[in-house]
Amino acid sequence: MNEHDRDRMKKLLQQALRPVGADAEPARDLWPAMLRRLDEESVTPVRAGFNWAWFDGALAAGLVVIVASFPAAIPLVLYYL
């Protein structure tokens, strides 16, 4: 795409989407919505304990499979824990 094409594409885009302009403002005062958001977040309980990711679950499952398949490996696993 050469410079001429680029200028034409810019002009086309400017005709398709008009600029919003600098004088846009919200239709309402957003502070009450902000306060609601702050209140919601402050009452949301924080989950206690561990948050298990899928990877943690996969590791634990793998460990169980190894231990079940090779009971002799239990001392080795305990050694590395």
């Binding site: 680029r6 400017q14 398709a16 957003l30 919505a33 958001r37």
Partner: protein, 184 residues
């Protein structure tokens, strides 16, 4: 006045709720306007303004008063808008535009009479299909005619990267339109 502003910024950094409200009231219009330029949907822009200030509130301890509030808030707002564009892109059918955008395109008169309403609508639709990262750079730099250094600062990339993203956006747009039989 300068000392007053500096005090508010320092108090905000320490988590003062009144300072946060002062900054919200001072900057909500500018943040809303910036987000609206990106998402072009007034109700989404209102929600995202609240979301941006929520992120600002959470990050107060990382705020550096010496760097100023406006640029920092703009960066956070830009990322909130980018997240929205990404989520919205996967939620919506790709060619679908918001009702506001379709009405805007249909109602506006093009300075060039050769550019019909249909071409403008297809251009707007093709633009909506661009990857959000390219779309945001092109919206701000081309449609909204914002200085490239401001766009670069808001996106936390270099001016050269802004130019590259705009170039890629225009090239993809051209290719999409040509695929529909429109020669721009």
């Amino acid at each position: 006045m300068q000392n007053g502003t500096s005090d508010v910024l320092n108090q905000f950094r320490q988590g003062d709720a009144d300072a946060f409200e002062t900054l919200f009231r001072l900057h909500q219009r500018a943040v809303y306007g910036w987000i609206l330029r990106i998402v072009r949907d007034p109700s989404a822009a209102e929600e995202l303004t609240v979301e941006s200030f929520w992120r600002i509130h959470r990050a107060h301890a990382r705020f550096e008063p010496a760097q100023g509030f406006e640029g920092w808030a703009r960066r956070i707002a830009t990322h909130a808008a980018l997240d929205w564009l990404r989520a919205n892109r996967t939620r919506r059918a790709e060619s679908e535009l918001s009702t506001e955008t379709v009405a805007e395109v249909a109602a506006s008169a093009a300075p060039d009479p050769a550019v019909t309403a249909e071409i403008r609508l297809k251009t707007a639709q093709a633009f909506g299909r661009l990857p959000p990262k390219l779309r945001i750079a092109a919206t701000l730099a081309v449609v909204e005619d914002q200085p490239q250094k401001d766009v670069a600062a808001a996106l936390r990339i270099s001016v050269a990267a802004v130019k590259l993203r705009v170039f890629r956006a225009l090239r993809l747009l051209k290719k999409d339109l040509e695929g529909q039989g429109i020669t721009p």
